[in-house]
């Protein structure tokens, strides 16, 4: 069967980090088996973790981390002006991430505790979409490289990139795992977006929701489940707040 030849252009790609551990960017250099093919899809213009070269003529920007200083806001606005596609990359960028735990305390208290009184500027943590328009989000702590590969292929080929809309339970059941609720744990799997291959729950670690809420979750039913099983409301609140990904679902 005859078909037009597929020719695709590399993405003019840049990767940036804000307040984060840079672990998600490190994932881009992971999964060695397909690393050469992955980078052959990208024309890397700026990516501090893997190259000292710096060019500002990128089209697609992956932005890792949350925003917690005023100079970060300036840098982010500049990236937004240049990038045709801005991707919030990783849980910190998408939801604020672990850094958001700071927002529970007065900023001065955090600075005193961490920097021992040094005059350091630190703002309450915000996610990328609080500051600029985000075109696509890839959540995960860290991101799943397999999913990133697929999304990059879709960006290159101009196909529709989507995340799973259903919760982690689907992928957890595919692994034939015993439900962590049956083992007496609170697991955020039933309300968290899939796409991670249930890697934590397969290792018997309850899901902490790093990928954020799945589409159209039944939060009241989830609260009822925790209640009915006699599990700790405090533990639930800790887990929901861990990545700040369930901000939209206040837990009474």
């Amino acid at each position: 069967m005859k078909n037009p030849v597929y020719t695709f252009e590399k993405l003019k790609f840049a990767s940036f980090e804000f307040t984060c551990c840079e672990g998600c960017q490190l994932q881009l250099a992971n999964r060695e088996a397909s690393l050469a093919e992955f980078f052959s899809l990208l024309d890397v213009r700026t990516f501090r973790e893997i190259s000292s070269e710096k060019h500002d003529d990128y089209d697609v920007a992956f932005v890792e981390g949350s925003i917690s200083r005023s100079d970060e806001i300036e840098r982010l606005l500049a990236i937004r002006r240049q990038a045709k596609t801005l991707v919030a990359f990783g849980t910190c960028a998408c939801f604020g991430g672990v850094n958001s735990l700071k927002n529970r305390y007065p900023v001065e208290e955090c600075i005193a505790e961490v920097y021992d009184g040094l005059p350091v500027e630190s703002l309450p943590v915000r996610k990328i979409s609080d500051i600029v328009k985000v075109d696509f989000s890839i959540p995960g702590c860290p991101v799943a490289k397999k999913e990133v590969e697929w999304i990059v292929v879709n960006l290159v080929t101009g196909s529709l990139a989507t995340l799973p809309k259903y919760p982690v339970c689907v992928e957890c059941k595919e692994q034939l795992n015993t439900c962590l609720f049956d083992l007496g744990e609170i697991c955020l799997g039933p309300i968290t977006r899939a796409g991670c291959d249930a890697v934590c729950t397969t290792g018997k670690t309850p899901c902490l929701g790093c990928r954020g809420p799945a589409d159209d979750i039944n939060f009241p039913a989830f609260l009822e489940l925790v209640e009915k099983r006699g599990l700790s409301r405090r533990d639930l609140k800790e887990k929901l707040g861990f990545y700040n990904a369930f901000e939209a679902y206040p837990c009474p």
């Binding site: 005859k2 030849v5 992955f38 919760p167 339970c169 595919e174 034939l176 039933p190 039913a221």
Partner: protein, 359 residues
């Protein structure tokens, strides 16, 4: 069918030889719940001692051995302006030990769907034909309701079915392969006493059911109750997590997706088992969702299980294993949902019944 009896020690020798020579799976204790209940799973076994013959039921069904949760159906390679498609159907032989009668019934139902229709699935066929199925009878759990659907016994769809008659297993041999394997081991023709013991065993199993669901006329009741508030009531509890369909031995709905390879020189077509309870199951191109509400989605799972297939093929596809009910974190289970629907109708009967009484 050929019937034989085999002593339990000899049976263990037979199974041991079988699993040592083949890629085999059997029931094993996987976990214990917080309150100490055993959780069983079909897992790889390499000796008879690893198999838990007294297991109750596995948390997940054996469906994925025949219908994997994810399966690559085709590979495509691009050559200049041309492309070619490769589809591979081969399946390695597998021995599957310890399936319950309802699990085997579920395979027979999948056969009807995936083999006996207009478009038989070569992927399923290869796995089904290359899997040696050994059934094992058991006393029902308190929430098993396979008897209500007449799936507490099974007479086809396996290679060998073993009924526990005390000192021996009563073997129903349903394939030449099983017969040939067994020739190497010491079996006997069932005696009059063995036959009595089998009858007693079957009666004991049949009498041990504690859960019953009245499924008579269910397809029609489901038709009548399409707009019943029962759906919203149970739907409001549903977490949309798809667990019910994943653990179900007969839920076979799937999604198809084609993906470019990362080198852009090829692509693959993949099938993934899906669930009608998942939020985007009925989303079509353009974004419209035909079943936006939990209750709608839950309803259609019951419709597929108890109505659609019954209308077309004269059988409900639920086998009554209650895996969905056990696994559901929201405590939704077929018994309560179906009884609720029936109660709806019963209450109608009370207020409007004008049927003539018996004379």
């Amino acid at each position: 069918m050929i019937y034989k009896v085999i002593s339990k020690p000899e049976f263990r020798r037979f199974i041991d030889a079988l699993v040592k020579a083949n890629n085999s799976f059997g029931p094993r204790l996987a976990d214990r719940t917080a309150d100490g209940k055993p959780v069983y799973r079909f897992m790889p076994v390499s000796s008879v001692d690893e198999i838990d013959f007294d297991y109750t039921a596995t948390a997940s069904s054996a469906k994925h051995f025949f219908l994997p949760f994810s399966e690559e159906l085709s590979r495509f390679r691009f050559h200049g302006s041309d492309w070619e498609q490769h589809s591979a159907y081969e399946a390695d032989p597998v021995v599957l030990i310890g399936l319950r009668a309802c699990d085997i019934s579920a395979l027979n139902i999948l056969d009807d769907v995936l083999l006996n229709g207009n478009y038989p699935s070569p992927y399923y066929l290869a796995k089904r034909k290359n899997t040696f199925v050994i059934g094992l009878d058991h006393l029902p759990l308190p929430d098993c309701f396979c008897k209500s659907l007449a799936h507490h016994t099974v007479s086809t769809g396996f290679n060998l079915f073993c009924s526990d008659i005390g000192e021996k297993y009563y073997l129903s041999i349903n394939s030449s392969k099983a017969f040939t394997y067994l020739k190497e081991f010491q079996t006997e023709d069932p005696s009059y006493e063995d036959n009595c013991l089998l009858t007693e065993r079957r009666k004991l199993i049949s009498d041990s059911f504690k859960t019953e669901i009245d499924v008579t006329s269910l397809p029609s009741i489901l038709d009548i109750e399409f707009d019943s508030p029962v759906w919203e009531k149970w739907g409001s509890k549903c977490l949309n997590c798809g667990t019910c369909a994943m653990v179900c031995p007969t839920c076979y709905c799937y999604s198809l997706e084609e993906r470019f390879d990362i080198d852009l020189k090829g692509a693959s077509r993949n099938r993934k088992l899906y669930s009608c309870n998942l939020v985007d199951f009925a989303v079509v191109a353009g974004g419209h969702n035909f079943r936006p509400k939990n209750g709608d989605r839950l309803k259609y799972r019951y419709y597929h299980q108890h109505r659609g297939f019954a209308e077309n093929d004269n059988q409900q596809i639920c086998v009554g294993c209650n895996r969905c009910g056990r696994a559901c974190l929201a405590d939704i289970n077929p018994k309560d949902v179906i009884n609720d629907l029936r109660m709806e109708k019963d209450s109608c009967m009370i207020c409007v019944s004008q049927s003539p009484g018996r004379i």
